[in-house]
Symmetry: C2
Amino acid sequence: MTQLLRVQNFTVSRDGFGAGEHQSLERPFGDADPRELMAWAMATASWPGRTEPGGSRGLDDYFTRDFAHDIGAEIMGRNKFGPQRGPWQDHDWRGWWGDEPPFHTPVFVMTHHPRPSFTLSDTTFHFVGGDPASVLAQAREAARGKDVRLGGGVSTIRQFLDADLVDTLHVVVAPVELRAGERLWESPDELLDRFHLDVVPSPSGVTHHLFWRK
Amino acid sequence: MTQLLRVQNFTVSRDGFGAGEHQSLERPFGDADPRELMAWAMATASWPGRTEPGGSRGLDDYFTRDFAHDIGAEIMGRNKFGPQRGPWQDHDWRGWWGDEPPFHTPVFVMTHHPRPSFTLSDTTFHFVGGDPASVLAQAREAARGKDVRLGGGVSTIRQFLDADLVDTLHVVVAPVELRAGERLWESPDELLDRFHLDVVPSPSGVTHHLFWRK
């Protein structure tokens, strides 16, 4: 079986931004409001952060529950892991997700600054340098035959696209405007030379873009 | 966690028929051609019967690969299991699916005619009488906390709908006309008093109907 590299449930604004400017400890998405960007997933029955019963079980729920389907490892950029830049001042920061991160697999955080691995519940974070191909090789080995999720953010996804390592991308375009920040694309058409594309509007107001390699 | 009863990937013609007339050993779907009805799923990368690499990874693939997601047991009618009617003449018939059935869980075949359970690979078939509620109770117990799939055919789905036991239904309307056979509905609107509905046209030509309980 092929081990795919998959972008899952990555959400951008109508104008193509995955996060706003001014990321900080208080604002992981910078000037963007994650509750606006992720409203489509938070309304579903399968949203992992759901604390009350209920939630929709229509189209958006399929994508939300597919997040972990056959995934054995995640790769993320350092800015998805935390707001720090440069060498680690200490190792107190353990990600945004509390004691039960939603990954449940090894996670490879790409950074030039080494740091020991650590484990929270069933998620282990590794900190790795090197180019996308070598990071992907490590993640594939850790995934034990399953696929690897490319978690973002934008600059990490673009690096792997530039290296032509991405097999499928699910990008959700949310009905909000950001105007500044980290931009994934001017238009989804930029990827059509290398990918097939299904464009699927959801009744919730977002539009799912499903790319797979030609 | 609630254990749902879910209809997954059940495909009907544009005029609402799930199978044609004249089911036989040679024609499990009767006058209907399963390759026409199921073309949407057979074209995807996740189709279990795929023998060559390739296949689409767009919208239809999400539904195909969700078939087994969090499912711990299946309930099916006797006509989905085989073409025989009345008391079993012998126990040679072991289903349409060969030595590796695509269920991988206990399967409860509803029939008035008792027969011993048997196992093929990781699928065990049980033959059970009783009303839908009692069959569902047995399947729930066997599913060990996971959901139960209601596999069809049409008359089995209608029995469970009449008993108001179905939590979600994914019905795929394929661009073919059958004109006769087992009819699921005149129109999907018949279910709107009890279910929410997302209608999602696929680029492949089918239309996915996603119902979940109000």
